[in-house]
Protein backbone atom coordinates (compact mmCIF):
# COMPACT_ATOMS: atom_id res chain seq x y z
CA UNK A 1 0.00 0.00 0.00
CA UNK A 2 2.65 2.61 0.80
CA UNK A 3 4.08 2.12 -2.69
CA UNK A 4 0.75 2.87 -4.29
CA UNK A 5 0.38 5.87 -2.01
CA UNK A 6 3.82 7.05 -3.07
CA UNK A 7 2.85 6.73 -6.73
CA UNK A 8 -0.42 8.57 -6.12
CA UNK A 9 1.41 11.37 -4.36
CA UNK A 10 3.86 11.52 -7.26
CA UNK A 11 1.02 11.77 -9.76
CA UNK A 12 -0.59 14.51 -7.72
CA UNK A 13 2.74 16.35 -7.68
CA UNK A 14 3.20 15.99 -11.43
CA UNK A 15 -0.30 17.19 -12.19
CA UNK A 16 -0.20 19.98 -9.65
CA UNK A 17 3.26 21.31 -10.43
CA UNK A 18 3.38 20.79 -14.20
CA UNK A 19 -0.19 21.35 -15.24
CA UNK A 20 -1.38 23.71 -12.53
CA UNK A 21 1.76 25.78 -12.01
CA UNK A 22 4.06 25.76 -15.05
CA UNK A 23 1.58 25.37 -17.91
CA UNK A 24 -0.74 28.19 -16.76
CA UNK A 25 2.36 30.35 -16.54
CA UNK A 26 2.67 30.06 -20.32
CA UNK A 27 -0.57 31.88 -21.26
CA UNK A 28 -0.06 34.24 -18.36
CA UNK A 29 3.38 35.15 -19.59
CA UNK A 30 1.95 35.62 -23.09
CA UNK A 31 -0.62 37.99 -21.62
CA UNK A 32 2.05 39.79 -19.61
CA UNK A 33 4.18 39.99 -22.70
CA UNK A 34 1.40 41.68 -24.63
CA UNK A 35 0.33 44.06 -21.89
CA UNK A 36 3.87 44.91 -20.83
CA UNK A 37 5.11 45.56 -24.36
CA UNK A 38 2.01 47.69 -24.87
CA UNK A 39 2.72 49.95 -21.92
CA UNK A 40 6.36 50.18 -22.95
CA UNK A 41 5.17 51.38 -26.35
CA UNK A 42 2.54 53.77 -24.93
CA UNK A 43 -0.30 51.54 -26.01
CA UNK A 44 -3.01 49.73 -24.09
CA UNK A 45 -2.73 46.11 -25.13
CA UNK A 46 -5.48 43.51 -24.98
CA UNK A 47 -7.94 44.96 -22.47
CA UNK A 48 -11.29 44.06 -24.01
CA UNK A 49 -11.50 40.32 -24.11
CA UNK A 50 -13.80 39.28 -21.35
CA UNK A 51 -17.16 37.75 -20.76
CA UNK A 52 -19.74 39.45 -22.97
CA UNK A 53 -22.32 39.94 -20.26
CA UNK A 54 -24.22 42.47 -22.38
CA UNK A 55 -25.35 39.57 -24.54
CA UNK A 56 -27.03 38.13 -21.47
CA UNK A 57 -28.85 41.33 -20.63
CA UNK A 58 -26.36 42.92 -18.23
CA UNK A 59 -25.42 46.59 -18.44
CA UNK A 60 -21.67 46.12 -18.82
CA UNK A 61 -19.34 43.49 -20.18
CA UNK A 62 -16.95 41.82 -17.79
CA UNK A 63 -13.49 42.77 -18.97
CA UNK A 64 -11.16 42.30 -15.99
CA UNK A 65 -8.19 43.88 -17.79
CA UNK A 66 -8.58 41.50 -20.71
CA UNK A 67 -7.36 38.57 -18.66
CA UNK A 68 -9.55 36.23 -20.68
CA UNK A 69 -7.33 37.00 -23.67
CA UNK A 70 -5.07 33.94 -23.13
CA UNK A 71 -8.16 31.74 -23.09
CA UNK A 72 -9.40 33.31 -26.29
CA UNK A 73 -5.96 32.81 -27.85
CA UNK A 74 -5.97 29.20 -26.87
CA UNK A 75 -9.49 28.59 -28.17
CA UNK A 76 -8.58 30.30 -31.40
CA UNK A 77 -5.49 28.17 -31.88
CA UNK A 78 -7.47 25.01 -31.16
CA UNK A 79 -10.24 25.87 -33.58
CA UNK A 80 -8.01 26.93 -36.46
CA UNK A 81 -7.60 24.67 -39.43
CA UNK A 82 -4.71 22.32 -38.85
CA UNK A 83 -3.14 22.47 -42.26
CA UNK A 84 -0.39 20.11 -43.30
CA UNK A 85 1.24 21.15 -46.57
CA UNK A 86 1.47 18.38 -49.15
CA UNK A 87 5.23 18.69 -49.61
CA UNK A 88 6.33 18.08 -46.02
CA UNK A 89 7.82 14.89 -44.55
CA UNK A 90 4.79 14.06 -42.51
CA UNK A 91 6.08 11.82 -39.72
CA UNK A 92 8.82 14.26 -38.71
CA UNK A 93 6.58 17.22 -39.36
CA UNK A 94 4.09 15.90 -36.84
CA UNK A 95 6.71 14.79 -34.34
CA UNK A 96 8.63 18.07 -34.23
CA UNK A 97 6.20 20.18 -32.14
CA UNK A 98 5.93 17.44 -29.54
CA UNK A 99 9.71 17.15 -29.41
CA UNK A 100 9.91 20.85 -28.71
CA UNK A 101 7.37 21.08 -25.95
CA UNK A 102 7.94 17.78 -24.13
CA UNK A 103 11.58 18.34 -22.97
CA UNK A 104 10.66 21.78 -21.69
CA UNK A 105 7.96 20.25 -19.52
CA UNK A 106 10.09 17.29 -18.41
CA UNK A 107 12.75 19.59 -16.96
CA UNK A 108 10.12 20.87 -14.55
CA UNK A 109 10.56 17.72 -12.47
CA UNK A 110 13.83 18.74 -10.82
CA UNK A 111 12.90 22.31 -9.94
CA UNK A 112 12.19 22.71 -6.21
CA UNK A 113 9.06 24.83 -5.97
CA UNK A 114 9.03 25.23 -2.24
CA UNK A 115 10.22 23.87 1.05
CA UNK A 116 8.76 20.53 2.15
CA UNK A 117 5.19 20.41 3.41
CA UNK A 118 4.29 17.93 6.08
CA UNK A 119 0.81 16.56 6.70
CA UNK A 120 0.14 14.05 9.49
CA UNK A 121 3.83 13.79 10.07
CA UNK A 122 4.71 12.67 6.53
CA UNK A 123 6.94 15.14 4.82
CA UNK A 124 6.49 15.84 1.15
CA UNK A 125 9.03 17.78 -0.89
CA UNK A 126 7.59 20.24 -3.41
CA UNK A 127 9.69 18.77 -6.18
CA UNK A 128 8.66 15.96 -8.48
CA UNK A 129 11.98 14.16 -8.62
CA UNK A 130 14.57 15.15 -6.11
CA UNK A 131 17.51 14.11 -8.29
CA UNK A 132 21.07 14.50 -7.17
CA UNK A 133 22.14 15.70 -10.62
CA UNK A 134 19.60 18.54 -10.98
CA UNK A 135 21.28 21.04 -13.32
CA UNK A 136 22.87 18.32 -15.41
CA UNK A 137 19.47 16.69 -15.89
CA UNK A 138 18.02 20.01 -16.97
CA UNK A 139 20.80 20.57 -19.52
CA UNK A 140 20.56 17.01 -20.79
CA UNK A 141 16.83 17.15 -21.36
CA UNK A 142 16.52 20.72 -22.56
CA UNK A 143 19.16 20.18 -25.20
CA UNK A 144 16.75 17.67 -26.76
CA UNK A 145 14.61 20.64 -27.76
CA UNK A 146 17.06 21.30 -30.55
CA UNK A 147 15.90 18.08 -32.24
CA UNK A 148 12.34 19.34 -32.38
CA UNK A 149 13.36 22.59 -33.95
CA UNK A 150 15.81 21.03 -36.37
CA UNK A 151 13.30 18.42 -37.45
CA UNK A 152 10.62 21.09 -37.86
CA UNK A 153 12.96 23.13 -40.04
CA UNK A 154 14.04 20.19 -42.14
CA UNK A 155 10.74 18.34 -42.53
CA UNK A 156 8.83 21.48 -43.54
CA UNK A 157 10.68 21.34 -46.84
CA UNK A 158 10.84 25.10 -47.07
CA UNK A 159 13.91 27.28 -47.28
CA UNK A 160 12.84 29.61 -44.51
CA UNK A 161 12.15 26.76 -42.15
CA UNK A 162 15.40 25.04 -43.00
CA UNK A 163 17.50 28.16 -42.42
CA UNK A 164 15.65 28.77 -39.17
CA UNK A 165 16.26 25.20 -38.04
CA UNK A 166 19.94 25.30 -38.94
CA UNK A 167 20.44 28.62 -37.18
CA UNK A 168 18.68 27.29 -34.13
CA UNK A 169 20.81 24.15 -34.00
CA UNK A 170 24.07 26.07 -34.28
CA UNK A 171 22.96 28.63 -31.75
CA UNK A 172 21.74 26.17 -29.13
CA UNK A 173 24.76 23.91 -29.37
CA UNK A 174 27.10 26.89 -29.11
CA UNK A 175 25.43 28.36 -26.08
CA UNK A 176 25.06 25.05 -24.26
CA UNK A 177 28.81 25.15 -23.69
CA UNK A 178 28.68 28.56 -22.02
CA UNK A 179 25.62 27.48 -20.12
CA UNK A 180 27.37 24.43 -18.68
CA UNK A 181 30.66 26.17 -17.98
CA UNK A 182 29.08 29.20 -16.39
CA UNK A 183 27.45 27.30 -13.52
CA UNK A 184 30.54 25.31 -12.56
CA UNK A 185 31.58 28.03 -10.06
CA UNK A 186 28.15 27.80 -8.47
CA UNK A 187 28.38 24.03 -8.17
CA UNK A 188 31.92 24.33 -6.81
CA UNK A 189 30.67 26.75 -4.21
CA UNK A 190 27.87 24.53 -2.98
CA UNK A 191 29.68 21.26 -3.57
CA UNK A 192 26.38 19.70 -4.50
CA UNK A 193 24.25 19.06 -7.60
CA UNK A 194 20.96 18.56 -5.85
CA UNK A 195 18.84 21.62 -6.50
CA UNK A 196 16.76 21.17 -3.34
CA UNK A 197 19.89 21.15 -1.22
CA UNK A 198 21.31 24.14 -3.09
CA UNK A 199 18.17 26.11 -2.33
CA UNK A 200 18.11 24.97 1.29
CA UNK A 201 21.73 26.06 1.57
CA UNK A 202 20.82 29.49 0.17
CA UNK A 203 17.90 29.78 2.55
CA UNK A 204 20.24 29.12 5.47
CA UNK A 205 23.37 30.97 4.41
CA UNK A 206 22.21 33.73 2.07
CA UNK A 207 21.43 33.77 -1.61
CA UNK A 208 24.35 33.43 -3.93
CA UNK A 209 23.97 37.02 -5.11
CA UNK A 210 22.67 38.33 -1.77
CA UNK A 211 24.71 36.74 1.05
CA UNK A 212 23.42 38.97 3.79
CA UNK A 213 22.69 36.36 6.45
CA UNK A 214 24.32 33.24 7.75
CA UNK A 215 22.80 30.41 9.72
CA UNK A 216 19.58 32.35 10.11
CA UNK A 217 21.23 35.55 11.41
CA UNK A 218 21.53 38.77 9.44
CA UNK A 219 25.03 40.12 8.97
CA UNK A 220 27.64 41.14 6.44
CA UNK A 221 29.34 38.24 4.66
CA UNK A 222 32.90 37.20 5.43
CA UNK A 223 35.75 38.01 3.04
CA UNK A 224 35.61 34.76 1.11
CA UNK A 225 31.86 34.97 0.48
CA UNK A 226 32.18 38.59 -0.47
CA UNK A 227 35.00 37.84 -2.89
CA UNK A 228 32.98 35.00 -4.36
CA UNK A 229 30.35 37.55 -5.39
CA UNK A 230 32.63 38.45 -8.31
CA UNK A 231 32.68 35.02 -10.02
CA UNK A 232 29.06 34.50 -8.96
CA UNK A 233 27.98 37.67 -10.72
CA UNK A 234 29.97 36.81 -13.85
CA UNK A 235 28.40 33.35 -13.82
CA UNK A 236 24.94 34.89 -13.36
CA UNK A 237 25.48 37.21 -16.32
CA UNK A 238 26.74 34.52 -18.66
CA UNK A 239 24.11 32.05 -17.54
CA UNK A 240 21.23 34.51 -17.97
CA UNK A 241 22.34 35.65 -21.39
CA UNK A 242 22.92 32.07 -22.49
CA UNK A 243 19.42 31.18 -21.32
CA UNK A 244 18.15 33.96 -23.61
CA UNK A 245 20.00 32.33 -26.47
CA UNK A 246 18.87 28.83 -25.50
CA UNK A 247 15.21 29.82 -25.44
CA UNK A 248 15.46 31.69 -28.76
CA UNK A 249 14.29 34.88 -27.10
CA UNK A 250 15.06 38.36 -28.24
CA UNK A 251 17.76 39.56 -28.74
CA UNK A 252 18.82 36.14 -29.98
CA UNK A 253 15.65 35.02 -31.79
CA UNK A 254 17.41 34.57 -35.10
CA UNK A 255 15.83 31.16 -35.80
CA UNK A 256 12.46 32.86 -36.17
CA UNK A 257 13.66 36.23 -37.30
CA UNK A 258 10.57 37.57 -39.09
CA UNK A 259 12.35 40.11 -41.24
CA UNK A 260 14.52 37.46 -42.82
CA UNK A 261 12.80 34.12 -42.39
CA UNK A 262 9.04 34.80 -42.33
CA UNK A 263 8.48 32.64 -39.26
CA UNK A 264 11.68 30.63 -39.08
CA UNK A 265 11.37 26.94 -38.33
CA UNK A 266 7.60 27.14 -37.73
CA UNK A 267 6.78 28.96 -40.99
CA UNK A 268 4.78 26.01 -42.31
CA UNK A 269 2.95 25.21 -39.09
CA UNK A 270 -0.55 26.23 -38.18
CA UNK A 271 -3.17 25.75 -35.49
CA UNK A 272 -2.24 23.62 -32.49
CA UNK A 273 1.07 22.49 -33.95
CA UNK A 274 2.15 26.08 -34.11
CA UNK A 275 0.72 26.59 -30.62
CA UNK A 276 2.94 23.78 -29.34
CA UNK A 277 6.05 25.57 -30.62
CA UNK A 278 4.76 28.72 -29.04
CA UNK A 279 4.15 26.91 -25.76
CA UNK A 280 7.53 25.21 -25.94
CA UNK A 281 9.23 28.57 -26.32
CA UNK A 282 7.42 30.09 -23.37
CA UNK A 283 7.77 26.94 -21.25
CA UNK A 284 11.51 27.05 -21.92
CA UNK A 285 11.47 30.65 -20.79
CA UNK A 286 9.66 29.70 -17.60
CA UNK A 287 12.06 26.84 -16.87
CA UNK A 288 15.08 29.02 -17.66
CA UNK A 289 13.84 31.66 -15.25
CA UNK A 290 13.18 29.00 -12.63
CA UNK A 291 16.71 27.71 -12.99
CA UNK A 292 18.24 31.17 -12.66
CA UNK A 293 16.09 31.88 -9.63
CA UNK A 294 16.99 28.55 -8.10
CA UNK A 295 20.71 28.80 -8.65
CA UNK A 296 21.39 32.48 -8.03
CA UNK A 297 18.43 34.09 -6.32
CA UNK A 298 17.62 31.68 -3.58
CA UNK A 299 14.86 29.65 -5.22
CA UNK A 300 11.81 29.47 -2.96
CA UNK A 301 13.66 31.16 -0.11
CA UNK A 302 12.16 34.35 1.23
CA UNK A 303 15.52 35.21 2.76
CA UNK A 304 16.73 37.41 5.58
CA UNK A 305 16.54 34.52 8.03
CA UNK A 306 12.76 34.23 7.81
CA UNK A 307 12.73 30.81 6.16
CA UNK A 308 13.09 28.82 9.35
CA UNK A 309 10.22 30.68 10.94
CA UNK A 310 8.04 30.13 7.88
CA UNK A 311 8.91 26.44 7.87
CA UNK A 312 7.58 26.07 11.37
CA UNK A 313 4.17 27.64 10.63
CA UNK A 314 1.46 25.06 11.08
CA UNK A 315 -2.26 24.51 11.61
CA UNK A 316 -2.51 21.36 13.63
CA UNK A 317 -0.20 18.87 12.02
CA UNK A 318 -0.34 20.65 8.64
CA UNK A 319 2.85 22.61 8.10
CA UNK A 320 1.97 24.98 5.28
CA UNK A 321 5.19 27.02 5.16
CA UNK A 322 6.02 25.28 1.87
CA UNK A 323 3.06 26.96 0.20
CA UNK A 324 4.31 30.40 1.22
CA UNK A 325 7.67 29.44 -0.22
CA UNK A 326 5.89 28.33 -3.40
CA UNK A 327 4.35 31.79 -3.61
CA UNK A 328 7.73 33.41 -3.06
CA UNK A 329 9.17 31.25 -5.83
CA UNK A 330 6.39 32.19 -8.23
CA UNK A 331 6.79 35.89 -7.48
CA UNK A 332 10.51 35.68 -8.22
CA UNK A 333 9.72 33.69 -11.34
CA UNK A 334 7.22 36.22 -12.66
CA UNK A 335 9.56 39.11 -11.93
CA UNK A 336 12.21 37.32 -13.93
CA UNK A 337 9.76 36.61 -16.77
CA UNK A 338 8.95 40.32 -16.80
CA UNK A 339 12.67 40.94 -17.06
CA UNK A 340 12.76 38.60 -20.06
CA UNK A 341 9.96 40.62 -21.65
CA UNK A 342 11.62 43.92 -20.84
CA UNK A 343 14.80 42.73 -22.52
CA UNK A 344 12.84 41.62 -25.56
CA UNK A 345 11.31 45.05 -26.08
CA UNK A 346 14.50 46.94 -25.28
CA UNK A 347 17.40 45.23 -26.99
CA UNK A 348 17.37 44.94 -30.76
CA UNK A 349 18.14 41.66 -32.47
CA UNK A 350 21.76 40.67 -32.89
CA UNK A 351 23.31 39.76 -36.20
CA UNK A 352 24.08 36.08 -36.51
CA UNK A 353 27.85 36.59 -36.65
CA UNK A 354 27.67 38.83 -33.57
CA UNK A 355 25.71 36.13 -31.78
CA UNK A 356 28.26 33.46 -32.60
CA UNK A 357 31.18 35.70 -31.68
CA UNK A 358 29.54 36.55 -28.37
CA UNK A 359 29.11 32.85 -27.60
CA UNK A 360 32.42 31.48 -28.73
CA UNK A 361 34.88 34.35 -28.36
CA UNK A 362 33.62 36.07 -25.22
CA UNK A 363 31.38 33.90 -23.07
CA UNK A 364 33.27 30.65 -23.57
CA UNK A 365 36.59 32.18 -22.50
CA UNK A 366 35.04 34.27 -19.76
CA UNK A 367 33.29 31.22 -18.30
CA UNK A 368 36.53 29.23 -18.40
CA UNK A 369 38.52 31.95 -16.62
CA UNK A 370 35.67 32.34 -14.19
CA UNK A 371 35.93 28.67 -13.21
CA UNK A 372 39.57 29.16 -12.24
CA UNK A 373 38.82 32.39 -10.41
CA UNK A 374 36.05 30.73 -8.42
CA UNK A 375 38.23 27.71 -7.65
CA UNK A 376 41.02 30.00 -6.43
CA UNK A 377 38.67 31.91 -4.14
CA UNK A 378 37.08 28.74 -2.77
CA UNK A 379 40.40 27.01 -2.17
CA UNK A 380 42.12 30.12 -0.75
CA UNK A 381 41.75 29.26 2.97
CA UNK A 382 43.67 25.99 2.53
CA UNK A 383 46.51 27.57 0.56
CA UNK A 384 49.56 29.60 1.49
CA UNK A 385 49.81 33.22 0.45
CA UNK A 386 52.55 32.38 -2.05
CA UNK A 387 50.41 29.89 -3.88
CA UNK A 388 47.45 32.27 -3.88
CA UNK A 389 49.66 35.04 -5.27
CA UNK A 390 51.10 32.70 -7.89
CA UNK A 391 47.64 31.49 -8.80
CA UNK A 392 46.36 35.04 -9.11
CA UNK A 393 49.30 36.00 -11.35
CA UNK A 394 48.76 32.92 -13.46
CA UNK A 395 45.07 33.71 -13.71
CA UNK A 396 45.76 37.27 -14.76
CA UNK A 397 48.28 36.04 -17.31
CA UNK A 398 45.84 33.53 -18.70
CA UNK A 399 43.08 36.14 -18.83
CA UNK A 400 45.35 38.57 -20.61
CA UNK A 401 46.35 35.87 -23.06
CA UNK A 402 42.71 35.00 -23.70
CA UNK A 403 41.81 38.64 -24.27
CA UNK A 404 44.76 39.03 -26.61
CA UNK A 405 43.76 35.93 -28.57
CA UNK A 406 40.19 37.23 -28.78
CA UNK A 407 41.37 40.57 -30.06
CA UNK A 408 43.68 38.98 -32.58
CA UNK A 409 40.88 36.76 -33.79
CA UNK A 410 38.70 39.83 -34.20
CA UNK A 411 41.26 41.91 -36.07
CA UNK A 412 40.60 42.10 -39.74
CA UNK A 413 43.29 40.57 -41.92
CA UNK A 414 45.38 43.22 -43.57
CA UNK A 415 45.01 43.26 -47.29
CA UNK A 416 48.32 42.44 -48.84
CA UNK A 417 49.12 44.30 -51.97
CA UNK A 418 51.14 42.50 -54.55
Amino acid sequence: MPDILQILILIVKIVALTFCVVLPLVPISVYFERRFCAVIQDRVGPNRTGIPLTLLGFKKDFHFFGLIQPVADGVKLFLKEDFTPSYVRKAFYWMAPALTVAPALITVCVIPFGSPISIFGSEQKLVIADLDIGPLFVFAISSLTVYGITLAGWSSNSKFSLIGGVRSTAQMISYEICLGLSIIPVLLYYGDLNLSKIVQNQADNGWLLLPLWKGGHLGLPDLQTALFLIPAFIAFLIFTISIFAETNRMPFDLPECETELVGGYHTEYSSMKFALFFMGEYAAMVIGSALIVTLFLGGWSVGFGMDKWINDLHIGSFQFGGLIHLMAFLVKLIVFILFFILVRWTVPRFRYDQLMKLGWVIFFEAALVNVFLAALIIAAPQLTAAIIGGGAVLLIAVTAAVIWVAMVSEAKPKIRRA
Binding site: F36, A38, V39, I40, Q41, D42, R43, V44, G45, L342, W345, T346, V347
Partner: protein
Amino acid sequence: MAVVKLQRPKLNAGEKIYFGAILKGFFITMSHAVRSLLGKTTGAKDLASSGLGVTMQFPEQRWDNQLPEYYRGAPTLVIDEQGRERCVSCQLCEFICPPKAIRITPSEIPTDDKWAKVEKRPIEFDIDMIRCIYCGMCEEVCPEQAIFLRKDYLVTGHTRAEMVHDKKKLYEIGGIRTGLVNKWNELK
Protein backbone atom coordinates in the same frame (compact mmCIF):
# COMPACT_ATOMS: atom_id res chain seq x y z
CA MET B 1 23.99 53.39 -59.88
CA ALA B 2 26.67 54.79 -57.78
CA VAL B 3 28.01 52.50 -55.08
CA VAL B 4 28.12 54.16 -51.70
CA LYS B 5 30.49 52.53 -49.26
CA LEU B 6 29.35 53.07 -45.72
CA GLN B 7 31.95 53.15 -42.99
CA ARG B 8 30.76 51.58 -39.78
CA PRO B 9 31.26 53.98 -36.87
CA LYS B 10 34.35 53.31 -34.78
CA LEU B 11 33.26 52.16 -31.33
CA ASN B 12 35.37 52.73 -28.25
CA ALA B 13 35.88 50.01 -25.68
CA GLY B 14 32.92 51.07 -23.53
CA GLU B 15 30.58 51.10 -26.45
CA LYS B 16 31.84 47.71 -27.58
CA ILE B 17 30.66 46.10 -24.34
CA TYR B 18 27.13 47.36 -25.05
CA PHE B 19 26.15 47.42 -21.40
CA GLY B 20 25.91 51.19 -21.17
CA ALA B 21 23.62 51.32 -24.17
CA ILE B 22 21.52 48.43 -22.93
CA LEU B 23 21.08 50.05 -19.51
CA LYS B 24 20.10 53.29 -21.23
CA GLY B 25 17.58 51.29 -23.22
CA PHE B 26 16.18 49.74 -20.07
CA PHE B 27 15.82 53.18 -18.59
CA ILE B 28 13.88 54.44 -21.62
CA THR B 29 11.55 51.45 -21.91
CA MET B 30 10.94 51.31 -18.18
CA SER B 31 10.23 55.03 -17.97
CA HIS B 32 7.62 54.63 -20.71
CA ALA B 33 6.12 51.67 -18.91
CA VAL B 34 6.00 53.46 -15.57
CA ARG B 35 4.52 56.63 -17.05
CA SER B 36 1.91 54.51 -18.86
CA LEU B 37 0.99 52.61 -15.73
CA LEU B 38 0.69 55.85 -13.76
CA GLY B 39 -1.66 57.18 -16.44
CA LYS B 40 0.70 59.94 -17.44
CA THR B 41 1.77 58.98 -20.93
CA THR B 42 3.17 61.91 -22.89
CA GLY B 43 0.67 63.27 -25.36
CA ALA B 44 -2.24 61.35 -23.88
CA LYS B 45 -4.22 64.53 -23.22
CA ASP B 46 -4.07 65.74 -26.83
CA LEU B 47 -5.60 62.48 -27.96
CA ALA B 48 -8.17 62.40 -25.14
CA SER B 49 -6.97 58.98 -24.08
CA SER B 50 -7.10 57.65 -20.54
CA GLY B 51 -3.37 58.12 -20.07
CA LEU B 52 -2.64 54.40 -20.15
CA GLY B 53 -0.84 54.77 -23.42
CA VAL B 54 -1.98 57.25 -26.03
CA THR B 55 -4.55 54.86 -27.50
CA MET B 56 -8.11 56.10 -27.65
CA GLN B 57 -10.80 53.66 -26.55
CA PHE B 58 -12.62 53.64 -29.88
CA PRO B 59 -16.29 52.76 -29.70
CA GLU B 60 -16.81 54.79 -26.52
CA GLN B 61 -14.50 57.63 -27.45
CA ARG B 62 -14.75 59.25 -30.86
CA TRP B 63 -12.46 61.64 -32.57
CA ASP B 64 -15.16 63.05 -34.85
CA ASN B 65 -14.84 66.62 -33.61
CA GLN B 66 -11.11 66.66 -34.04
CA LEU B 67 -11.19 65.33 -37.62
CA PRO B 68 -9.23 67.77 -39.77
CA GLU B 69 -10.92 69.65 -42.61
CA TYR B 70 -8.99 67.65 -45.17
CA TYR B 71 -10.04 64.29 -43.72
CA ARG B 72 -10.89 61.83 -46.46
CA GLY B 73 -13.79 59.56 -45.57
CA ALA B 74 -16.35 57.86 -47.75
CA PRO B 75 -16.82 59.32 -51.25
CA THR B 76 -20.33 60.61 -51.93
CA LEU B 77 -22.36 62.34 -54.62
CA VAL B 78 -23.94 65.73 -53.96
CA ILE B 79 -26.94 67.76 -55.08
CA ASP B 80 -26.67 71.55 -55.44
CA GLU B 81 -29.01 74.28 -54.16
CA GLN B 82 -31.21 73.95 -57.24
CA GLY B 83 -31.77 70.30 -56.48
CA ARG B 84 -29.85 69.20 -59.54
CA GLU B 85 -27.70 66.13 -59.28
CA ARG B 86 -24.26 67.41 -60.09
CA CYS B 87 -22.91 64.26 -61.71
CA VAL B 88 -23.12 64.18 -65.51
CA SER B 89 -21.50 60.72 -65.68
CA CYS B 90 -18.37 61.82 -67.52
CA GLN B 91 -16.75 58.71 -66.00
CA LEU B 92 -13.49 60.46 -65.26
CA CYS B 93 -13.63 59.22 -61.67
CA GLU B 94 -14.20 55.70 -62.92
CA PHE B 95 -11.15 56.15 -65.13
CA ILE B 96 -8.87 57.63 -62.48
CA CYS B 97 -9.96 55.35 -59.61
CA PRO B 98 -6.79 53.38 -58.76
CA PRO B 99 -8.55 50.31 -57.31
CA LYS B 100 -11.37 50.45 -59.89
CA ALA B 101 -13.99 50.81 -57.19
CA ILE B 102 -16.31 53.06 -59.20
CA ARG B 103 -18.70 51.78 -61.83
CA ILE B 104 -21.01 54.15 -63.70
CA THR B 105 -23.75 53.47 -66.21
CA PRO B 106 -24.49 56.71 -68.09
CA SER B 107 -27.86 57.62 -69.49
CA GLU B 108 -29.63 60.49 -71.20
CA ILE B 109 -31.83 62.93 -69.29
CA PRO B 110 -35.35 62.79 -70.78
CA THR B 111 -36.34 65.90 -72.75
CA ASP B 112 -39.24 66.73 -70.42
CA ASP B 113 -36.89 67.01 -67.46
CA LYS B 114 -36.19 70.44 -65.97
CA TRP B 115 -32.50 69.91 -66.56
CA ALA B 116 -32.83 68.36 -70.00
CA LYS B 117 -30.18 70.73 -71.31
CA VAL B 118 -27.56 68.95 -69.21
CA GLU B 119 -28.36 65.92 -71.40
CA LYS B 120 -26.48 63.30 -69.40
CA ARG B 121 -26.62 61.77 -65.94
CA PRO B 122 -25.75 58.46 -64.35
CA ILE B 123 -28.50 55.88 -64.20
CA GLU B 124 -26.35 53.72 -61.96
CA PHE B 125 -23.40 54.85 -59.87
CA ASP B 126 -21.80 52.19 -57.69
CA ILE B 127 -18.81 52.62 -55.43
CA ASP B 128 -17.50 49.40 -53.98
CA MET B 129 -16.41 50.45 -50.52
CA ILE B 130 -14.45 47.24 -50.07
CA ARG B 131 -12.25 48.35 -52.94
CA CYS B 132 -12.19 52.07 -52.18
CA ILE B 133 -8.87 53.25 -50.78
CA TYR B 134 -10.05 56.76 -49.87
CA CYS B 135 -7.39 58.38 -52.03
CA GLY B 136 -9.62 61.27 -53.12
CA MET B 137 -8.60 61.09 -56.77
CA CYS B 138 -12.28 61.03 -57.79
CA GLU B 139 -12.93 64.28 -55.99
CA GLU B 140 -9.85 65.85 -57.50
CA VAL B 141 -10.63 64.80 -61.06
CA CYS B 142 -14.35 65.64 -61.07
CA PRO B 143 -14.97 68.49 -63.54
CA GLU B 144 -18.49 69.06 -62.22
CA GLN B 145 -17.84 69.24 -58.45
CA ALA B 146 -20.15 66.31 -58.00
CA ILE B 147 -18.18 63.83 -55.92
CA PHE B 148 -16.77 64.66 -52.50
CA LEU B 149 -15.08 62.67 -49.78
CA ARG B 150 -17.02 63.18 -46.57
CA LYS B 151 -15.91 62.54 -43.02
CA ASP B 152 -17.79 59.26 -42.71
CA TYR B 153 -15.29 56.62 -41.75
CA LEU B 154 -17.56 53.98 -40.23
CA VAL B 155 -18.39 52.15 -43.42
CA THR B 156 -19.46 48.70 -42.36
CA GLY B 157 -21.70 45.95 -43.61
CA HIS B 158 -22.47 42.31 -43.16
CA THR B 159 -22.31 41.28 -46.80
CA ARG B 160 -20.24 42.29 -49.80
CA ALA B 161 -23.37 43.55 -51.51
CA GLU B 162 -24.06 45.82 -48.57
CA MET B 163 -20.64 47.38 -48.99
CA VAL B 164 -21.42 48.58 -52.50
CA HIS B 165 -22.82 52.06 -52.22
CA ASP B 166 -25.36 52.61 -55.00
CA LYS B 167 -26.54 55.93 -56.37
CA LYS B 168 -29.31 56.33 -53.81
CA LYS B 169 -27.02 55.67 -50.87
CA LEU B 170 -24.35 58.00 -52.28
CA TYR B 171 -26.78 60.90 -52.57
CA GLU B 172 -28.15 60.08 -49.14
CA ILE B 173 -24.74 60.44 -47.50
CA GLY B 174 -23.70 63.31 -49.72
CA GLY B 175 -26.72 65.52 -49.27
CA ILE B 176 -26.92 69.08 -50.56
CA ARG B 177 -23.77 71.10 -51.05
CA THR B 178 -23.93 74.84 -51.53
CA GLY B 179 -21.53 77.34 -52.97
CA LEU B 180 -20.43 75.35 -55.97
CA VAL B 181 -19.80 76.70 -59.47
CA ASN B 182 -23.06 76.52 -61.38
CA LYS B 183 -22.04 76.54 -65.01
CA TRP B 184 -25.31 74.99 -66.16
CA ASN B 185 -27.42 77.84 -64.81
CA GLU B 186 -26.61 80.42 -67.48
CA LEU B 187 -29.20 81.03 -70.15
CA LYS B 188 -29.04 78.25 -72.65
